[in-house]
């Protein structure tokens, strides 16, 4: 502060007129106080104004103590806090109207001139200081605003980071979550990203629910954290991230792959680190993990496809026995999808009557006459055309629809066979019965009703069951078979010779016949003679033994899959009773069987001679 020493004051300053200066000070201080509030006491105010007044008096009476004294007084007024326009106005008013009068001195031209000069300088100094003061204040408030904004932005950033972390990371393990994984994949699949091939490895702990159920969620959570830590430790620069998708599912995202092998290697490593024993509270918890791997391009939304492919592959790993790794394969996926579509379409198809039976002739080998037919399920699919049983029976078994489908086919077959009795009495129809049907109570009752409705004699219905179906003879199966036998229906073991044959069970069953699997009919692939074998067993030896086994047990033996005359001859020679296969006829619509029967009757009725006209075959 400009605390300049007062002028020496030796000249014409009124010597004994302190009272006059005092009145002036009071007037000035009052004017300032009224004009502008400064939080100081009246005494402080008085002291400040007294100091200023002394300098003013000196300047007017003795001449300015130096250049710029008026300016300094104005500036000091502002510095003391009296910086408002009203304070300047009040000061000028008090100085012009009261100063000389209060001092009791004459307003001679010199003093008047000095006072005017002083006022001019004071006003300049005051406004200049006030202006500077304002500018400084503006600077500080602007800096404050800037700092406040920076701080607010920083705080916003921090809270956004915190919020984003919360939204994109799993709280239990701290790993990125599905949201972040999806985001990353999405980013990789955008056009501007340089990455074009990406791999995904989906991991799932096998039977993790059991861990939670048996050991409790706390142990489960500890395990998940340990798994997350091991997987997280695997990550290197090539990993985009290791994520926990949900509960016990994890995923590894690999960038810049060249082929599926790159990801398989990483998946193998993941399975290896997870294969090491897990210990919780000192107890070893055995765990296995399944993995599904997919790799490919991610441009144009391929990322979502890739993720789904990884999940599908994981599903395969689970279906194929768990604790293993499967690589996504488009063909398998297509087949899966196809099977799923077929499976889903089946109930409606059944309602619309799209399932029909085709019939394949069964020929008595010695006479060459038609002995019976086997009814085989067919699906007249509106888009895919005629589908053979191989395409859909397994699906129907899985969904349980095979029961309804079986009933429908059984009724169709019996009705058809009943019609054929008019032109070939004694022609039997063979119908396959699935394991599921056999395990259902009420099958025998249903068969009885169908026979009733269709009028087919019971012994002309042959039910073919697999060895597998009777490997476990539970109460229901035994009762059903016994009831069917009582109805007079004939039971035949299908595909004999390739499954597990429970001979002890066969012994106790009321069987009518055996149907040899086609693989016994054809020559074996391996040479029958093995070095060191004590006795050479030929294909014919096997065949003869099986046929004679059947015959010794009083069973009728039918051979399937006969494709050539040579095979037919061989089976006849082996003593087989009936033969079935393309050599005798493919599965055909019932009209063609009818036509065949009629043709056979013509051949038998008319002695060999000129060719008979061909009976036109009607097709539906």
């Amino acid at each position: 502060m400009n605390d300049r020493p007062a002028a020496d004051g030796a000249d014409d300053r009124p010597a004994a007129d302190g009272r006059g200066v005092g009145e002036f000070v009071t007037a000035w201080a009052t004017a300032l106080h009224r004009a502008h509030y400064v939080p100081i006491s009246a005494e402080q105010r008085h002291r400040i104004v007294t100091g200023l007044a002394d300098r003013v008096v000196t300047a007017v009476l003795a001449g300015p103590g130096g250049p710029g004294e008026g300016r300094r007084i104005g500036a000091d007024l502002v510095a003391a806090g009296f910086g408002s326009p009203e304070a300047l106005g009040g000061t000028i008013a008090v100085l012009t109207s009261r100063l000389l009068g209060d001092l009791g001195v004459a307003a001679d031209p010199t003093r008047t001139a000095r006072l005017n000069d002083l006022l001019a300088e004071l006003a300049t100094g005051f406004t200049s200081a006030a202006h500077d003061h304002s500018l400084r204040a503006q600077d500080t408030v602007r800096l404050a605003a800037l700092a406040a904004r920076t701080q607010a932005e920083e705080a916003l950033r921090v809270s956004e980071v915190r919020f984003r972390r919360f939204a994109t990371h799993d709280q239990l393990t701290g790993l990125p979550n599905l949201t972040l994984l999806t985001e990353q994949l999405g980013r990789l699949s955008t056009a501007e990203a340089p990455t074009d091939r990406v791999g995904v490895c989906c991991l799932d702990v096998d039977d993790f629910a059991a861990v939670n159920d048996v050991l409790g969620y706390q142990v489960g959570d500890l395990l998940l954290r340990e798994i997350a830590a091991r997987l997280g430790a695997l990550a290197d620069g090539r990993f985009d991230l290791v994520a926990r998708l949900d509960s016990d599912r994890f995923a590894i995202l690999v960038r810049d792959t060249t082929c599926a092998g790159d990801v398989v290697k990483i998946a193998d490593r993941a399975l290896a680190v997870l294969a090491a024993p897990f210990r919780v509270n000192g107890t070893e918890v055995p765990l296995t993990v399944s993995a599904g791997v997919a790799e490919g391009t991610v441009a144009d939304g391929g990322a979502a496809r890739l993720m789904r492919a990884g999940e599908i592959a994981l599903h395969w790993a689970k279906a194929d026995g768990k604790a293993t790794l499967r690589l996504f394969d488009q063909d398998r996926s297509n087949a899966d999808a196809e099977r799923y579509r077929l499976s889903a379409a089946m109930p409606a198809a059944l309602r619309r009557g799209e399932f029909t039976a085709a019939y394949q002739p069964v020929t008595a080998l010695r006479s060459g006459r038609l002995a019976g037919v086997e009814a085989l399920a067919r699906w007249r699919h509106p888009q895919l055309g005629l589908l053979s049983a191989a395409r859909f029976i397994e699906l129907a078994e899985r969904t349980g629809l095979v029961v309804a489908l079986g009933s429908q086919l059984l009724e169709q077959a019996c009705r058809q066979a009943s019609r054929w009795q008019r032109i070939q009495p004694g022609l039997y129809v063979s119908v396959n019965v699935s394991v599921r049907q056999l395990h259902r109570t009420g099958l025998a009752g249903e068969v009885a009703q169908i026979l009733d409705r269709t009028g087919l004699p019971p012994h002309l219905l042959h039910l073919e069951i697999t060895e597998q179906a009777v490997i476990d003879l539970t109460g229901v199966v035994t009762q059903t078979l016994a009831a069917l036998m009582q109805l007079g229906v004939r039971i035949v073991i299908d595909d004999f010779g390739v499954g597990y044959a429970n001979l002890a069970n066969l012994r106790s069953l009321p069987l009518y016949g055996l149907k040899l699997d086609a693989s016994l009919t054809r020559p074996s692939a391996q040479p029958a003679r093995w070095p060191g074998a004590r006795r050479p067993g030929t294909d014919d030896d096997f065949l003869g033994t099986v046929v004679s086994l059947g015959h010794r047990l009083g069973l009728v033996v039918t051979a399937e899959g006969i494709e050539t005359a040579q095979q037919a001859h061989r089976l006849t020679a082996a003593g087989c009773d009936n033969g079935q296969g393309w050599h005798f006829g493919r599965p055909v619509p019932p009209d063609e069987i009818t036509a065949g029967i009629v043709a056979q009757q013509h051949r038998e009725a008319v002695p060999p001679g000129p060719e008979l006209p061909v009976i036109p075959v009607q097709r539906r």
Binding site: Y37, P39, G81, V141, A145, A147, R149, A152, A155
Partner: protein, 268 residues
């Protein structure tokens, strides 16, 4: 909508701030054109608003000096605004250099500016907080560091309580604040009213709706209710110039025109 506690404060320099407008009314230059525009509109509604602001500021200083006389050496100034000449720590430290002051304001610019002014000042601090979160203020580590809540505190709520609307329970908030303080603590409140100048001050209050802190004017009885549970210091709740004036001249002819009810209560 109230911002969640974790969300950072909003620094919107396109909206006028009452803190900076108040600075302008007091003759300060720590304000922006948007603040001055609002301040001038308010001046058009209440031509002597500068005097009103000044009278309020004078009450603050008298209240602080009263508390210093009572032996209080630590202050919690909520709604401290833009620091101008004669801040609480300056006044208090004139009496006792060891006096401690915590300034609290909801305006981020006011707080950063205060922080700047207080640099190198170990016994004063400025915090960004909201009067509506009393516990956040009382439990703030800086408040705890600076103030000993087991000893009397001067709680200054000058020209701030009217910024809390009724639905935010201002009575409950203020009670929560002073009940956390030691016996012997004092609470100073100054509060806008439209009792004496319903038209002019009503228009001023309406204009405040443009700022971040709209005003809820209250009656004398409502202001007195804030002191329920405290011993109201003489002369009770009065017009701002009438609270223990230092001279007859300071009162002026129409103290009611200053439109602020003020009072100081002491915690038993």
């Amino acid at each position: 909508m109230e911002r969640p506690e974790w969300a950072p404060a909003d620094v919107d320099l396109s909206r006028p701030s009452v803190a900076r407008a108040y600075d302008y009314w007091l003759g300060g230059s720590h304000n922006f054109e948007v603040d001055r525009e609002f301040a001038r509109q308010a001046l058009a509604a209440v031509p002597d608003l500068r005097l009103v602001a000044r009278a309020n500021r004078e009450f603050l200083h008298r209240a602080v000096r009263f508390m210093l006389d009572e032996g209080i050496r630590q202050f919690l100034d909520i709604g401290s605004g833009i620091p101008t000449v004669g801040n609480v720590h300056e006044i208090a430290q004139q009496v006792d250099p060891h006096s401690r002051v915590a300034y609290v304001d909801i305006d981020p610019v006011a707080v950063t500016h205060s922080t700047h002014i207080l640099a190198g000042q170990p016994n004063a601090v400025a915090l960004l907080e909201d009067l509506r979160h009393p516990e956040a203020i009382l439990d703030h580590p800086e408040v705890r560091r600076l103030l000993d809540l087991d000893r009397p505190v001067g709680l200054l709520l000058v020209s701030v309580v009217h910024a809390v609307p009724d639905h935010d329970d201002p009575y409950g908030l203020i009670r929560r604040l002073w009940t956390a303080l030691a016996p012997g603590s004092c609470v100073a409140i100054s509060h806008v009213t439209t009792d004496s100048r319903p038209d002019e001050m009503g228009e001023g209050a309406r204009l405040s709706g443009r700022t971040n802190t709209p005003v809820t004017a209250r009656t004398r009885a409502q202001v007195e209710d804030f002191f329920t549970g405290l011993d109201l210091v003489e002369p009770g709740v009065v017009w701002s110039p009438l609270w223990r004036p230092e001279s007859e001249a300071d009162v002026g002819e129409h103290p009611e025109r200053m439109s602020f009810y003020v009072g100081v209560g002491r915690r038993r």
